[in-house]
């Protein structure tokens, strides 16, 4: 009996020995051969990849983090090539929203003047807030970006930057309010994403139509929320948790005034009947 036991221990030791030897052989191999730098250097101009390929490669790579040791604290942030200013904290991404699963976190691109502002708002407003116009029975909730759970008693006194929560409108169906990202819709979108490469083109169009059926043709514009008075604002700011001091800022002259400047900017003069584009005529 004791002979069997000692033989078993021996075998276990032998097995561990083999593992250690294989691993140490690997270490020795790496240590000895690393001076050769086996990676193929680019020698010919045809090896130089195009800008597009480079960008694609960069895009699929994991984010690189870097540390700056200041002696009294360490700043850890994303390594942004050619970016002068430090960004510090990482963006809290939304893992839950239906739309950004396909459209991403920085979806606005068309309107040159305001695209960065719109992307900034998508940090704390879900896409549905602006892209689904609620006429009656307006109701919104805040949800946590990481787990999607509803967050109650929002008390917003200051501006929201890199917010943990996002605002979401609710759909009014037969006397009940339902989230636009309900479990059933989530499930449908997930299924659709899985089968999209296999289904026929007409089915794809059908699916997309179904997913986007609530999307309004004309999204909520900046001045509909940044209005002159609280009553005129599309969003019920106090109901959704904004405190008076913050509402005053949102509806302040500097914000509303700036929104109007942008409005002027992105509706070019030549579209307004009866106006002359003085800037261009001066140049001529």
């Amino acid at each position: 009996m004791s002979g069997n036991k000692s033989s078993l221990i021996k075998k276990v030791y032998a097995l561990i020995g083999i593992v250690i030897l294989v691993y140490s052989s690997y270490i020795v191999y790496v240590l000895v051969t690393h001076i050769w730098h086996f990676e193929k250097p680019m020698q010919h101009s045809q090896d130089i990849i195009s800008e597009e390929e480079k960008l694609f490669k960069e895009m699929v790579k994991e984010k690189k983090m870097v540390e700056y040791n200041l002696g009294y604290k360490v700043i850890k942030q994303e390594d942004l090539e050619n970016h002068f200013h430090h960004v510090g904290n990482e963006v809290i991404h939304d893992n839950f929203n239906l739309c950004i699963k396909c459209h991403g976190d920085i979806p606005h691109d068309k309107n040159k003047a305001i695209r960065a502002f719109l992307n900034m708002h998508s940090d704390f407003f879900s896409c549905e807030v602006c892209h689904i116009r609620l006429e009656k029975n307006k109701k919104f909730i805040w949800y946590n970006k990481k787990d999607g759970k509803e967050v109650k008693n929002s008390n917003i006194k200051a501006y929201l930057s890199n917010s943990e929560n996002k605002l979401l409108p609710l759909e009014y169906i037969e006397g009940k309010y339902e989230r636009y990202d309900s479990d059933s819709k989530n499930k449908f979108v997930e299924e659709f994403r899985k089968v999209i490469s296999e289904i026929s083109s007409d089915k794809k169009s059908q699916g997309l139509k179904l997913i986007h059926r609530n999307v309004s043709k004309k999204p909520i514009s900046c001045d509909e929320c940044h209005s002159n008075t609280l009553q005129q604002s599309y969003l019920p700011l106090s109901e959704i948790g904004y405190k008076e001091e913050r509402i005053v800022q949102i509806l302040s002259n500097e914000v509303v005034g700036m929104v109007n400047k942008y409005k002027e900017f992105y509706i070019p003069n030549f579209l307004k009947p009866g106006t002359i584009n003085h800037e261009n005529s001066d140049k001529k």
Partner: protein
């Protein structure tokens, strides 16, 4: 009435510092948002966010946005308003009463290998040379901590107390303390410098364009590189060897340039710097630091490396295989070859 005049006088005296500390151009109204960003026409992410606290902990913390972004004059902003680092800014150099600019840095760059007019280049295409932001982001203050206790901003309250005795404006004192003490030591540690240089000197495309070898990989093979990797204090980085003592870090020259710190005849002097190998003799300059294992370039090193590799692996692997076979026999003592 007197009270009013006293207040006005205090405000007048403090106004330069107050205006720098505050965002009086109100740029942060929009730029304080972390996700103020877009994807540009080329497909790259453009982030317009300014981290206020980190900006004010940086060497540019007192420079107004418009001093650098001078092309921006209106809202909505003009397109393609690139920053010119040679702009003169509001800060006055106290000994000469001149407005500050990075002109001197440009002069140093013009005498270095990092500009396309340098005579000893293999490729002088101006597109392949670094711009300021290729190497630099906004340097963050690293104030020297002399005493044990330090504030959240990295300053020593004991040292600040000495300043407080004569100078009354706390913001000014902290800025001055940060500025002076930051400049008294290296603003980048070894790893940060290697990280900066490797953006080009370990980038295959760049190496190919300039017909260079990967200097970062060969540096990391050396004791110097290993020491830096393990955060050994005083380990040499790229700047230590490639910049002449007491010259600007921007004055890196080719090894063929007689003014270079690594020019063959004078290289040993760089090795023999006080903090490095003070007793070194001229022979140390003959030690090759960036050895590429290449038969055509360095045949002696190539065959030495080949011999070392063959001997080490040739001795180790057969031994390891024998040991593994013996251990397999321990596990399966009765295993036999079929006849």
């Amino acid at each position: 009435m007197h009270f009013f005049f006293v207040n006005m006088l205090i405000l007048f005296l403090l106004s330069p510092f107050i205006s720098y500390a505050l965002d009086d151009e109100n740029c942060l109204l929009c730029h304080k948002y972390r996700t103020l960003s877009r994807i540009d026409e080329k497909g790259k992410s453009r982030i317009y966010y300014i981290n206020d606290s980190l900006f004010h902990s940086s060497v540019h913390g007192r420079v107004k946005c418009s001093e650098c972004h001078s092309g921006i004059t209106k809202i909505p902003h003009e397109e393609n308003t690139k920053v010119n680092c040679l702009n003169e800014c509001h800060i006055t150099e106290p000994t000469e009463d001149k407005r500050f600019s990075h002109k001197n840095v440009e002069d140093a760059i013009m005498n270095s290998v990092h500009n396309n007019k340098y005579p000893l280049l293999r490729n002088a295409n101006s597109d392949f040379f670094p711009k300021c932001t290729d190497c630099h982001n906004n340097p963050l203050f690293k104030p020297i901590q002399i005493f044990k206790d330090i504030t959240d901003e990295g300053q020593s309250p004991k040292a600040l107390a000495r300043c407080n005795l004569c100078h009354k404006d706390t913001k000014f004192i902290k800025y001055f303390y940060n500025h002076v003490s930051h400049r008294l030591h290296a603003s980048k540690n070894n790893k940060e410098i290697v990280r900066m240089c490797e953006r080009c000197h370990a980038n295959n495309e760049m190496l190919s364009k300039h017909k260079l070898k990967n200097a970062i990989a060969t540096y990391k093979d050396t004791f110097h590189g290993k020491a830096a990797e393990f955060d050994y204090k005083g380990s040499p980085d790229c700047i230590d060897c490639h910049v002449k003592e007491n010259e600007s870090a921007h004055s890196i020259r080719s090894y063929k340039d007689p003014n270079s710190s690594i020019y063959s005849k004078d290289r040993w002097k760089t090795c023999a710097k006080t903090g490095c190998h003070p007793d070194a003799k001229p022979a140390i300059g003959g030690v090759r630091m960036h050895v590429v294992i290449n038969k055509d370039l360095y045949p002696y090193e190539y065959y030495t490396a080949l011999g070392f590799t063959a001997l080490t692996l040739g001795a180790y692997f057969p031994l390891a295989i024998l040991l593994i076979l013996e251990l397999i026999r321990e596990i399966f003592p009765n295993i036999k070859r079929r006849k």
